[in-house]
């Protein structure tokens, strides 16, 4: 999804400081301090995790840290709510399978 650059009510969107991070090993860019989930969505990533039993995809749902559908592995820590966790340079983000990363799930 795109960023909104100009808005009829809010005006010009603040331009953030661009930082690099990775998602499943892929180098991506986002704005420092924005929710990890926002940076992922801008990069077209919708699936944040797969459920443990039925392996169903899940993504952002409430965007305010309440539903926990968007949790991922961030810097090795599972179950991080990406919708309310600010993006930092060099973050290592991984799709979560159940409660672990892919390699361990197999």
């Amino acid at each position: 999804m795109e960023r909104i650059t100009m808005h009829p009510i809010l005006g010009e969107s603040p331009e953030g400081k661009c930082v690099e991070f990775t998602c499943d090993g892929k180098k991506l860019e986002g704005y420092e301090g924005e929710p990890i989930a926002s940076a992922l969505r801008v990069n077209g990533i919708m699936v944040h995790r797969y459920t443990a039993k039925r392996h169903e995809p899940r993504g952002v749902f409430c965007a305010i840290g309440r539903c926990t559908d968007c949790v991922m592995i961030v810097d090795g820590i599972p179950n991080v709510r990406t919708c309310i966790t600010p993006l930092k340079a060099g973050m290592v983000v991984q799709t979560q399978y159940g409660v672990s990363a892919k390699e361990e799930a197999k």
Binding site: M1, P35, S38, M46, V47, R58, C83
Partner: protein, 527 residues
């Protein structure tokens, strides 16, 4: 564990919590507000539309600006706001546990106000867990706080005020809204909110709901179908839309878990499971108060008044105010709150079928079913008049508590009277000076300025416009009707957007005389 002590603990830094904190702190009480979010203000900073009500309810001011004002005032009064602070438990003797930076603190207050607000309801349909199905609140958070589009093509489920307002905000963010869908028979929110969507051409499907969200890894489409009186799908009525996002706005539920945990008396109501409290939010346990949506779903304007009432009641409870003082304040606020709880959508009218306005005019059924007043219905409302010279045409046809248009006009062209739910009257005898303030101040964007040139076979229609890009003088395009259907060619003759209009631009288009009663929106280019 060491127990910290606070004079007043407020849980939740939204409109109710902050309003209470401000009033309590003004009386000299030391107030600490805990909020689990990284920013204070609750949902106010996502509300980019102009609020309804009257001046005392911050009418015609956009929600996020009200949020700024509240925060500034709280800061000035010395209210301590602790963010990223999740209150985990509430216990006897007015004690709470709160997690701040992965550390649990044990805090005891002389009084506690719970202003935790509400959470979104959901409905289940096949595929509802797919990425791309989001809550309406999520859409607002993404576009209005984080400046990203929630999706490119969106279907909205729910036509209450949240569904209507968020749909409009999606358009403002540059998204396409393909349809609004609701299982109910009638549109649940204000007609004026629906009308400003309908005239852009968005269809409403009432008595419809989602059958299935389609897609393997994320939403790629959606199928809706009509439902019967028992909410069962009617076979053969399916309709498909290619969308990447489905937005769900099907109501809110009070988040009263902390109060229940504390042992406060609760009650089950139509509005959810809420604390049994009086007008000031005093619960069954002395010293424990509740305000805002946690006591029953309303909106931010009433939450702010409830918060202030609780602030006074707490001041009295803690000995900072006499009972007489408190009672006087309470009475004043009670009137203000009561004014907001009137009209067609008042809590007392929920579930009732209303067929006539307070003025005994048949309401527009087309507005309830399709989102716009039909062309043959509009002339029965008092805001609709004919006159050669420029004059306001006010397409506000439901009794809602709102009157900024009346105070915006200093020439007496608009009359609502004492009762703020009365339908606005366009006063034919008054002289409109084309200042445009009524158009810009109407939170429902329901006012148009019309100039009729019958002899020369044209008319000028000035409409509110809150999208980008703004049309420019000389632009040629089409005038759209209330349903969003292209009617005739139109030329833009004036575009005004001074600061006083607060981001509601006024766009004037020239149309053939025949269309002056029908043309209500503009679209550039052919089609």
């Amino acid at each position: 564990m060491k127990i910290e002590h606070k004079e007043l603990i407020v849980i939740g830094a939204g409109p109710a919590g902050l309003s209470a904190a401000i009033e309590a702190a003004s009386r000299g009480i030391q107030v600490t507000v805990y909020d689990e979010n990284a920013r204070p203000g609750g949902q106010l900073f996502k509300q980019i539309h102009k609020f309804f009500g009257s001046k005392e309810h911050h009418a015609k001011i956009r929600g996020f600006k009200i949020g700024d004002e509240l925060l500034k005032e709280a800061h000035e009064k010395g209210v301590e706001v602790v963010l990223n602070a999740t209150v985990m438990g509430m216990f006897a003797q007015k004690e709470i546990t709160v997690m701040i930076n992965d550390e649990v603190h044990h805090v005891k207050g002389d009084a506690i106000l719970v202003a935790t607000g509400a959470s979104e309801n959901m409905v289940n349909f096949r595929g509802w867990t797919l990425p791309g199905v989001i809550g309406a609140g999520a859409a607002q958070t993404m576009m209005n706080l984080h400046h990203i589009k929630p999706g490119e093509r969106v279907l909205m489920l729910g036509t209450g005020n949240v569904g209507l307002v968020v749909s409009f905000q999606l358009l403002q963010a540059g998204c396409e809204v393909v349809a609004l869908v609701d299982a109910a028979k009638n549109i649940g929110g204000y007609g004026v909110h629906a009308a400003k969507l309908a005239r852009t051409g968005i269809p409403f499907y009432l008595s419809h709901t989602i059958k299935e969200a389609e897609g393997d890894d994320h939403v790629t489409g959606v199928t809706i179908a009509e439902v019967d009186d028992h909410f069962q799908f009617i076979e053969g009525t399916e309709k498909h839309f290619d969308v990447d996002t489905i937005c769900v706005a099907v109501g809110l539920s009070p988040m009263a878990q902390l109060l229940k945990m504390d042992g406060v008396g609760m009650k089950d109501t139509r509005g959810g499971y809420v604390p049994d409290c009086d007008e000031t939010g005093a619960t069954s346990i002395p010293g424990i108060f509740a305000a805002g949506d946690v006591t029953g779903i309303e909106e931010a304007s009433s939450a702010m008044i409830e918060g202030r009432m609780s602030g006074y009641a707490i001041a009295e409870y803690l000995g900072y105010m006499t009972k007489e003082e408190k009672d006087a304040k309470e009475e004043e606020l009670d009137q203000s709150l009561d004014a907001l709880r009137q009209g067609m959508f008042a809590p007392k009218n929920r579930g009732k079928e209303i067929t006539k306005t307070e003025e005994d005019i048949l309401i527009s059924t087309n507005l309830l079913k399709h989102g716009f007043v039909a062309d043959d219905e509009i002339s029965r409302f008092p805001g609709f008049v004919h006159k050669a010279a420029i004059h306001p045409v006010i397409e506000c046809t439901q009794n809602i508590p709102c009157n900024p248009c009346q105070s915006a006009c200093h020439k007496g062209c608009i009359s609502i009277g004492e009762n703020m739910t009365s339908l606005p009257i366009s006063v034919k005898e008054s002289t409109c000076i084309n200042c445009g303030m009524c158009v810009a101040s109407c939170p429902g964007q329901a006012i148009f300025l019309v100039e009729e040139h019958e002899d020369e076979d044209y008319g000028l229609i000035t409409m509110p416009y809150e999208f980008l890009p703004l049309p420019e003088v000389g632009d040629l395009g089409h005038a759209l009707g209330r349903s969003g259907k292209a009617l005739c060619e139109a030329e833009i003759t004036q575009v005004r957007a001074p600061k006083s209009y607060d981001h509601t631009a006024l766009v004037t288009m020239k149309v053939p005389y025949h269309y002056i009663d029908l043309a209500r929106f503009y679209k550039k280019g052919d089609e």
